[in-house]
C-alpha cells in the first residue's frame, strides 16, 4: 500500500520540485550535518529540484532526524499537520528509524514512526550522504529497493524435531523487543507518551 502511495506521489510530484523542511527532534547533529552535506555542490540534490525551505507550510517533504524526545512529541505532530497534503515523511538516521542506542530510554520515544507515519526510512548513524541521496532517489522512483527481511536456519535433524514435539520449553519464551513495541521487561515502548 505504501509503495503504491509513493508511486502515486511520484507521478504527481516528479517533474516538479520537491521542497523539503528539515527538523531535528533530538538528534546529536551528526545526521543534520549529513543533510547539509547533500545540499552542497559536491552531492547537489538540487539537481532533483530539491530545495530546503524555511516553513513547513511551503514543504512537500518533512525530513526528520533524531529519536523523538518527549518534549518534541507535540511539536512534531503539529509540524506534520502543518505540511500540506500530499506529504512525504523521511526518517533519516538510526535514531529516527528505530531509536538508535536510546530506543528504550525513559525520555525518548524511540523512532519517528511511533508518533507520525513515515514513508521512507534511511538507516545509518549517520547515513552517508550517498545513502540519503539513495533514499531520495527511492522516493522519486529512480532506483529499486535493495533490502528485505531475512529468516535463516541451521539444518535441524529429523530426530530433534521428533524430540521437540514431546518436550515443553525449558523456560518461558522471552518477548521480542520490536516491531511489536514491547521491550525486554514486557513494558510497552514509549508508554504514556
Amino acid at each position: 500500500m505504501k509503495e503504491g502511495f509513493i508511486r502515486k506521489f511520484h507521478s504527481k510530484a516528479f517533474g516538479r520540485s520537491l521542497w523539503v523542511f528539515h527538523t531535528n527532534v533530538g538528534a546529536c547533529n551528526g545526521c543534520d550535518i549529513e543533510v547539509l552535506d547533500v545540499l552542497t555542490p559536491f552531492f547537489d540534490v538540487e539537481r532533483f529540484g530539491i530545495k530546503l525551505v524555511g516553513s513547513p507550510r511551503h514543504a512537500d517533504v518533512l525530513l526528520v532526524t533524531g529519536p523523538v524526545t518527549r518534549p518534541m512529541v507535540e511539536p512534531l505532530k503539529r509540524l506534520y499537520e502543518a505540511v500540506p497534503s500530499p506529504k512525504l515523511v523521511v526518517a533519516i538516521g538510526a535514531c529516527a528509524v528505530g531509536g538508535c542506542v536510546w530506543f528504550d530510554t525513559y525520555n525518548v520515544i524511540g523512532g519517528v514512526d511511533k508518533v507520525i507515519p513515515v514513508d521512507i526510512y534511511i538507516p545509518g548513524c549517520p547515513p552517508k550522504p550517498e545513502a540519503i541521496i539513495y533514499g531520495v532517489a527511492l522516493a522519486l522512483g529512480l532506483v529499486p529497493k535493495k533490502v528485505g527481511p531475512a529468516i535463516e536456519s541451521h539444518e535441524i535433524p529429523m530426530e530433534v524435531e521428533d524430540i521437540l514435539k514431546e518436550l515443553t520449553p525449558s523456560r518461558p519464551v522471552a518477548l521480542p523487543v520490536n516491531p511489536d513495541g514491547k521491550n525486554d521487561n514486557g513494558k510497552q515502548d514509549g508508554e504514556g507518551a
Partner: protein
Amino acid sequence: MIASKIRQILIGKRAGSVTLKYPFEPRPSEPGYRGRVTVDTDKCVGCGGCADVCPARCILITDVSPFIRIIRRYLDRCIHCGRCEEVCAYDALHLDGEYELATTDRKDLFIEQKLFMGTCNRCGRCYIPPTPLDRLMVVGFRKDEDLDGETI
C-alpha cells in the same frame, strides 16, 4: 554587467563540474567503510558474543526449546559500529560496506536466525558445542552404559 556574467561562465568552465553522478552511476563505498551487517548462519554457533557487546541492543537471543536458539537482529537501529564483527570468534558476521539501505518498511532490516544447539544435561538449556561436528552428536542424551567401563 554582461561582461561580468561571461567572466563568471568562463571561471565556471575552468573549474569543471565536481558534482557526483550518483545515483545514475554506481559509487562503491571507500575501503574501511563499515556499512550493513551481514551474517552467515552456517558459521554462527549462537554463542551470543555479538549480543553482549551490541551498544544498540539490536541482537536478541531467545531459547525457544532445549535445542533451538533464535537470534533476532533488529538492524534498523544498528549504528554500524562493527563491535559485533570484532567480537565474533567464528567469522560469521561481516560489515560489507553496503550503504544503500533506504526502505519503505523498517521490517526489511530484520534478520532472524534459527540455530541448532547442544543441550546441557543438568539445566536443560542450550549451550554451544565446540565444533559443528559435535553439534551433530548431541542428538539424544548420554547414558552411563556408553562409558564402556570407564569410571567418573
